[in-house]
Symmetry: C2
Subunit: 499 residues, 2 copies
């Protein structure tokens, strides 16, 4: 048996797929086994018992690696915390990952059980199931593991644990104190996190935060992300007749709420998608160094446009990454009367636009909402936050009812932060090229409030493939990304000089 294993490792060593060391390859093989075990424990945060089983498993795995771990009670489900023995002379790195996964609808998956990992190879048009025994001869880095949370976010946890093993095996003296916080409700918006930071302030204390969640850049290249946009919402409703009216009897007489809304919305943006509301982009300026970083992201505009099937993107920025540096004003929904087969010949009573505003650190959500409201007022509308009464309706010509959503702030770490510079340098030396540096992601991650609460520099260092079907059926993880993750965690936790 031992002989066979040795032979396998030798074979692996000489495969064309990868130049990885025997150590890394053995850790990848071990990680696949552990990930299968971990995925087999369902992790839908709607089921607290599932989460408990995952916490129990994690405690065992982290303890085996020499971590001290503890379960942190919160207002919601408990968090998992682990740390290696501390040395006051070292800076502290805090890793954030999450153990919960999106709910599954097994009928929509191409495998019987989303919690039972299936190994697949890619054929010309489809996926072919492979036996795990095939991996004994050769760990094919292009094959993938299919199952819930393989990528989001159990895979990175397993990569981390196996990197720790490799560091031990090589007797590397980690130059940081290492802390790990694992979230149990990331897919449910991580509501308990900000309060947990306040409660467990001392325990979580660190010099910088590394978040291992989400995919690498679409190019597949090593990636570091410095921030992500925040979000808030506005729901805007204009008012016509108090009840829907017959469009024959009242068309040309009863004010049409749809035209009022269209006229109002049309004043908010120009035809290039630029917001015309005064002060909306105030405080944002992109210097040459920043623009250079934005331009260095290997986005392919032709591919993006062709995926969206558009000939002409909006012109808020000159290119995709630049556009994301600004807050957005998006009509995510419009509704009035009925459309399609249900359309009826009425003058509707109301028309509603649902707006979402993606925020950047320069644009406070409350400030932006107030600018929009001020703008609406300047268009001659009387603003209310309730349904207008009969008295209001007879008093004011044009009434808008506005409902405001809560604000999730953006976060963005300075591009020149020394911990960030160090991560970039490490990635560059490990993978032979500068990583893709994303100054700010377009989307909003639910842990932003947690990040802002911690008040330390934060970096998202994603580990998984961009086409991982995150949140969808057939979520998967490319085996090559496991190797990538183990190597990256290894490098990040090694002394700079030795790399």
């Amino acid at each position: 048996m031992k002989k066979l294993l040795t032979l396998t490792f030798l074979l692996l060593f000489f495969t064309a797929h990868s130049q990885d060391s025997i150590l890394i390859k053995s850790k990848v093989a071990n990680a696949i086994g552990e990930l299968r075990e971990f995925v087999a424990i369902p992790n839908d945060a709607l089921n607290a018992d599932d989460i408990d089983s995952n916490l129990y498993w994690l405690r065992k795995k982290f303890t085996e690696r020499g971590f001290n771990s503890t379960i942190l009670e919160t207002e919601g489900l408990p968090l998992f915390f682990a740390a290696l023995p501390m040395d006051d002379n070292k800076p502290t790195i805090l890793f954030y990952m999450h153990l919960d996964g999106q709910s599954v609808d097994a009928t929509k998956w191409d495998q019987p059980d989303p919690y039972k990992v299936v190994l697949k190879s890619k054929t010309e048009d489809d996926w072919k199931t492979e036996s795990f025994s095939e991996l004994n001869d050769d760990i094919n880095y292009d094959w993938r593991l299919f199952g819930r949370s393989t990528s989001d976010d159990k895979g990175p946890i397993i990569m981390f644990l196996n990197a720790i093993d490799a560091l031990k095996k090589d007797a590397i003296d980690i130059p940081f104190n290492v802390k790990v916080i694992l979230d149990s409700e990331e897919e449910k918006s991580s509501a308990p996190l900000p309060q947990a930071v306040r409660t467990y302030k001392d325990l979580l204390k660190a010099d910088f935060l590394v978040i291992n969640d989400g995919p690498v850049h679409v190019s597949g290249k090593p990636t570091i992300v410095y921030g992500c946009r925040g979000i808030t919402t506005l729901s805007i409703t204009t008012h016509g007749p108090i009840k829907p009216q017959h469009s024959g009897h009242y068309g040309n007489y009863a004010p049409n709420p749809g035209f009022q809304l269209a006229q109002l919305l049309a004043t908010m943006k120009d035809t290039n998608g630029k917001v015309l509301i005064k002060g909306y982009y105030d405080g944002i300026s992109l210097d040459d160094a920043t623009l250079a970083i934005l331009k260095s992201v290997p986005d392919n505009a032709d591919v993006i446009n062709s995926n969206l099937a558009i000939s002409n993107p909006e012109k808020v920025g000159g290119f995709y990454q630049e556009a994301l540096q600004y807050p957005s004003l998006n009509i995510r929904g419009l509704g009035s009367g009925w459309v399609g087969e249900k359309a009826r010949t009425i003058v509707p009573a109301t028309a509603t636009a649902e707006l979402d505003l993606r925020l950047v650190p320069e644009s406070d959500g409350t400030k932006l909402k107030n600018l929009v409201k001020e703008h609406i007022k300047n268009q001659g509308f009387h603003i209310m936050n309730t349904e207008p009464t009969l008295e209001d309706r007879l008093k004011f010509d044009k009434i808008v009812t506005i409902k405001e959503g809560s604000v999730t702030d953006a976060f963005r770490t300075d591009l020149n932060n020394p911990f960030g510079n160090n991560i970039v340098k490490t990635m560059e030396s490990k993978f032979g090229e500068k990583p893709v540096q994303i100054r700010i992601m377009g989307g909003t991650v639910p842990i932003s409030p947690f990040i802002n609460e911690l008040k330390i520099p934060a970096f998202i260092v994603p580990m998984v493939n961009p086409d991982n079907n995150q949140h969808s059926p057939n979520e998967n993880l490319k085996i090559g990304q496991i190797a990538y993750g183990i190597k990256l965690f290894y490098a990040l936790l090694s002394p700079s000089k030795t790399e």
Copy 2:
């Protein structure tokens, strides 16, 4: 029994409610009985057997009055036609009414069976059921008959039949040939009618048409209507990304179809509701005589505005009746993404506005649709009538998909038509004041194509109360309107000199 009846009639003659003759009162009493009998035969045009039973009953009733009647087969349900013996020297009047009624949902009515007429008196806040035997002593003109089609449109048919009886009783020589066409599918849009006119051209030949459908003016006064607006529709869809996109990843980059639509719609009308599309109001001019007729309609703007709960109507016309002389451009529906609780943070793939265009005789529906399309083109949109292909999407910046609805023309008879003048004069002399003259109704009646096909002057002479709950639960007919209808039919069919 005969003595009692005589006494009843004497009593009726002296009631304060009405100065009506014994003859009219007796006809009202008879009409109530016949209407109860007629309403008892269900008349939902979705059920052909119901319609047959109604036709059978009508044939008996018209034959009793000396009419020759026939059932006219059509592409849909059969029509009922009746005529009194013809005299080539007399002009011919064709009456249009309909025997079918809206479907009923008995659970929404305040009576067990909408086809079993219930007699009610009005109390301060509500309706009180009365026994029909109460009518033997005194036919209270304020009481009402509740049941499906009491007003729409069986009531007028019964009024007509009883007016014929009264004319016979008084041995009046009717100065017209009298023809009657009764529709079986008015509530289903009268689809077979235009073709039926072509098939039965000779039979339907007449000098003018009188339509007895719909309610009198809201003031309750005698009313004549010279026309009604037509209608057509346009469905306008703008296109963003080919599939809904994450508003974080693509807000500020993927074109937003909602803003495109808002910007397009905003160019179509000014804030007073006036259409800005070139040529939209061409050909419409209202001379002083016409304006005088429009102003003579006893509309109460305060009441209308208060019913709609608006402070400021649109300004297409200076007042309600004037507004109806123009075609409308109404947003009857808006849809994009989701609104309310279902709202999701996406850049939607499409945004749709459903428009209806109410037409007047000067504004041909096809012409107006072309003007709107020309306008959209001038705003830089590429117009299609199908979903854009990938090729279209990459070729054109801004694409609109337009679906056109069919056109139902308006009709309007000249205010100076001699037959119309005669009706007005007759009404004036009968009721002591000029009737309300509506030049054109805002709504569209499904028989407009039939009216236009006949190519003869047409007048709507409504018989029933404006608050009759037409098309709704608790449809009703005021007994006073039965007397009104019998007297008006009687007068219209009497020689001018004798009135």
